[in-house]
Symmetry: C2
Subunit: 299 residues, 2 copies
């Protein structure tokens, strides 16, 4: 039995009779092939990339496992349609916090149609894509006070400026009320979550500095972690239980690299890494201040 994914935060959603991805109970994600050859393109990419021996194993694990394509009943009731069959990245989590960040300072690329170019560059300029080299596409956070998920409106997310993006990245790893825009994010999980995420981003960065296989136009980094387990267990097991992980998703616009690195993705990735590092550093400074004030109080 296929159902609508509970934790999808960006892209087409299979609701209200619309076409979108579906998941099963066995950890598989079914993504309908988009009609205008983009779906075919993404299937071809997964097909060749997933078996490409030039890609190191430690890089392969940042990509969802690919199980081929399959005809399944589409979510919009239009009958059986070909779907990509992928690993459902969040299937092992109970209450995952998820964020989708589209990487790159442009989503268009050489040789696209003028129509597509104009559509992309308008959105790139209207969001933080041009200014920051990435844009938050969507996210959901498990709220520990409400014991439910908070998921901001798409319009709000796409309207972020630099401060909005920075604030969202802080809220994403905080345990205090996310929906209340006046509360200051406490960054309770920042050290464990972004510590783990940063290690993975740096591994990806090192690969992007040399790889010339593909250019990952309009591709996203998905960050996932589990909040609940920290509250339940905490202590020494906390880091292991957080299972903070990074996956790359959305390959409908991937091109051959032709001997050139993906400088667009790499530049944006480095900018994103700096945002993550800044949050980690702000924690150190906070701790230092606490230490100092304790010293001043004679403790």
């Amino acid at each position: 039995m296929l159902k609508v994914p509970e934790h999808q935060v960006a892209g087409h959603i299979a609701r209200d009779g619309k076409l979108g991805p579906l998941v099963d109970d066995e950890g598989r994600f079914f993504k309908p092939l988009q009609g205008d050859s983009r779906g075919e393109h993404e299937a071809k990419f997964y097909d060749s990339f997933s078996s490409n021996k030039k890609v190191p194993d430690h890089i392969h694990r940042y990509f969802p496992v690919y199980h081929g394509t399959q005809l399944v009943e589409a979510s919009d009731g239009s009958g059986k349609l070909p779907h990509l069959v992928l690993e459902d990245v969040v299937s092992g989590y109970s209450n995952p916090s998820v964020m989708d960040v589209k990487i790159g300072s442009r989503t268009w690329y050489p040789d696209v149609s003028e129509e597509y170019f104009k559509k992309c560059i308008k959105k790139d300029r209207d969001t933080t894509t041009v200014s920051l080299g990435f844009r938050v596409s969507g996210f959901k956070i498990f709220d520990h006070q409400e014991l439910s998920f908070w998921r901001p409106e798409k319009k709000l997310v796409l309207g972020f400026n630099a401060d909005g993006a920075r604030s969202a990245l802080r809220k994403f790893v905080s345990s205090n009320s996310s929906a209340d825009s006046n509360s200051i994010p406490n960054c309770a999980f920042a050290s464990e979550v972004y510590g783990g995420i940063l290690t993975q981003l740096l591994e990806l960065k090192a690969w992007f500095e040399t790889q010339t296989l593909n250019h990952f136009n309009s591709c996203s980094i998905l960050m996932v972690y589990e909040n609940e387990s920290i509250l339940m267990k905490g202590g020494d097991d906390a880091q292991a239980l957080l299972r903070a992980q990074v996956k790359l998703v959305d390959f409908a616009h991937v091109l051959e690299g032709n001997g050139v690195i993906d400088h667009n993705f790499l530049g944006g990735l480095c900018s994103f890494i700096k945002f993550i590092k800044d949050i980690l550093q702000s924690l150190d400074e906070r701790d230092d201040e606490t230490d100092t004030s304790q010293l001043e109080n004679g403790n």
Copy 2:
């Protein structure tokens, strides 16, 4: 006495009654302040940057030394005009080979006028700026067969595709005839020149990964080295005599960083570094092949 710079390879040239930079005999470079406030902007940048203690010394040395502004007789005969007074980067060289590479996958930036945006993005798409993250703006090579300089036409240089850029970077460090487009560049100086250049580029890259002081829009990397001395001396002194150096130039479009790294410059720089590394690696492979064929011949 001011004169027209002999080794300028890009930008406005002070010839035929046109306005352009001048040099004196004491190693100073006089750049007229551009009228539309860009000149003022560049002067302000030099003013604050050159005395900025947050910029490490080893980074300051990649920027031309700044000596303030001065009223001097303009090259177009329009009387005394304010000029930036800078270090003339090539003044210590006899026959320098020089290349100007504009870094970044775009030369426009947020909040420019629509007119400027359209002008820039057209040129960015027509050159390798978008595809490679950099474009060769101009170069001159000392030709050891003709004992003179070869300097390709601006139109030819701006028409380079990826292969053209790669080929120009190989010719730039070759001793065989540069003007003859059929000859295969021998990359005679590649190891020494690009070895030294690469060390400097990697130092800049490390700084750009963290610096959020400025965004260096439309800024160029100037590569300079001396050919003549290699031929005259060679041997162990060769590397020291080459004096391959990197400078950053052209700051009329520099903006404040506002806490964000210059992902546009960094991405392009990483792409350029990969091109330089590829040339160095091709030399290793050539050497390996020579070794192997010597072994096969029983030597």
